[in-house]
């Protein structure tokens, strides 16, 4: 700082201005020095002139400024219109859709299995609903939710009408229908849209002794889970006569909705047995133990099965407690009650 530069007198403003300028100069000098140090270091370390290339390379990588081409000289949508042949299905697919198509086609990728399963499910429903239109109308009147779901299902399956996979799976199913047990289940799925009404007692019995038989509200499919107490069920059901389908249905009803009381003692009798045979996984015989403990009657017992009419009320009560204690999440009460409401 020189003496001449220093204002010894005068307003503070000039002093302030001078100060401001000085501070500014200091900042600029800092910036310059910073640059000098950087450059000097680069020179001494040998990387200062690295960014300079020879003329030839410069020409090669010059920025391109032509229409239809990016700055590197590449064409933008060169491969857009090309088609590739899928190695799996031998179809010609557009290039941009090739990767997702392969994913679905080969059955790899995250969603392909999900979509396939969903398609199969809706195809089952489609075939079922297509064949029994009239009966479904009746049901639609009674239970609106049921009907709405049917409509939704229809719409969804309509979407897949034209896909190749749909025709594939349909053909597949038709071929199998006559042959295996699974076909039998398809047949029953087909029929349970109407309800157990149309099945004869023997058919129902054979069906229910091998499978779970619960109709899901959502998919309208019968649960195919094999009942584990097949052997036990056989023993019990020997002495167990099902005079008509109604008893069976109330039996099922009783199992799933404990708040609905049985209409007659016969049905409660049926329900006793049914509940016993129906709880294989959790407590095979302790359920019976509970029964006998609770009611004090000869309700339990694996051998005899049928109880006397006198113990019907107490047994019904114990059954209520049983059912409430062991509610199975899979069995959907509302759908079954809705079907049987119709009959009642």
């Amino acid at each position: 700082m020189k003496m001449e530069d220093m204002p010894l007198s005068g307003p503070d403003n000039t002093k302030l201005e001078a100060l401001v300028h000085d501070i500014y100069s200091e900042l600029v000098e800092d910036a310059c020095l910073g640059l000098c140090f950087e450059v000097h270091r680069a020179v001494k370390q040998g990387y200062f002139f690295l960014d300079e290339t020879d003329q030839e390379s410069m020409k090669e990588f010059e920025i391109v400024d032509q229409p239809g081409v990016d700055i590197f000289g590449q064409v933008y949508n060169q491969w857009k219109n090309k088609e590739c042949e899928c190695p799996n299905c031998k179809r010609l697919i557009a290039a941009s859709r090739f990767a997702p198509h392969l994913e679905k086609c080969l059955g790899m990728g995250r969603n392909s299995s999900r979509i396939a399963n969903r398609r199969l499910a809706s195809n089952n429903n489609m075939s079922k609903s297509e064949s029994d239109q009239e009966d479904n109308d009746d049901l639609n009147d009674n239970d609106w939710s049921y009907g709405a779901e049917k409509k939704a299902k229809k719409r969804k399956s309509d979407k897949n009408q034209n896909s190749p996979r749909r025709s594939k799976s349909l053909k597949h199913k038709n071929g199998e229908l006559g042959s295996s047990i699974s076909s039998e289940s398809y047949k029953y799925n087909y029929n349970t849209g109407i309800s157990y009404e149309t099945l004869g007692p023997d058919e129902v019995r054979s069906l229910l002794t091998t499978q779970c038989g619960v109709i899901s509200e959502h998919t309208k499919k019968m649960c195919n889970r094999p009942s584990l107490t097949d052997a036990d069920a056989v023993v019990e059901n020997d002495s167990f006569d099902i005079p008509d389908g109604q008893m069976l249905m109330s039996r099922l009803q009783w199992e799933d909705s404990p708040d609905i009381s049985p209409t007659d003692s016969a049905s409660s009798k049926a329900s006793t047995n049914h509940s016993e045979s129906r709880k294989p996984k959790k407590k095979k015989r302790t359920s019976l133990g509970l029964n006998s403990g609770g009611s004090g009657s000869s309700v339990g017992g694996g051998g005899g099965g049928l109880t006397g009419g006198s113990s019907s009320s107490s047994s019904s009560q114990s059954n209520i407690s049983l059912s409430t204690k062991k509610k199975r999440p899979k069995l959907s009460a509302p759908s079954i009650t809705s079907i049987y409401d119709d009959l009642n």
Binding site: M3, E4, M6, L8, D12, K15, L16, L19, V20, H21, D22, I23, Y24, S25, L27, V28, E29, D30, A31, C32, L33, G34, L35, C36, F37, V39, H40, V43, F48, F49
Partner: protein
Amino acid sequence: MTPFLDVFCTQTDRHNVFYPLLRQIMNKDSQMRAAINQKLIEMGERERLKELLRAKLVECGWRDQLKAHCKDVIREKGLEHVTVEDLVTEVTPKGRALVPDSVKKELLQRIRAFLAQHATL
């Protein structure tokens, strides 16, 4: 030799009279300056101003210009023998001159604002 010093010819005069006088006059200002500088640093304003200036200089191409000038200097002096002092003496004046007016104005504005807010005079 400044005109002031001519008045006080002898050494002793200079040391006993002039310099203290000068120091007294300068002290106030330098004290103020020192105080302001200290405030600038303490409040982080100096750092912010520095960053602002650097960013603006890069943006306006000042840095690249100056770097190109550095290259010339280096080529002139020879790659092996260039020193920091060479660079500084060659580059700083040019650097000062090359700062665009808009940047200069903005920075002065900010400094003035800071002083107006924080300087007690």
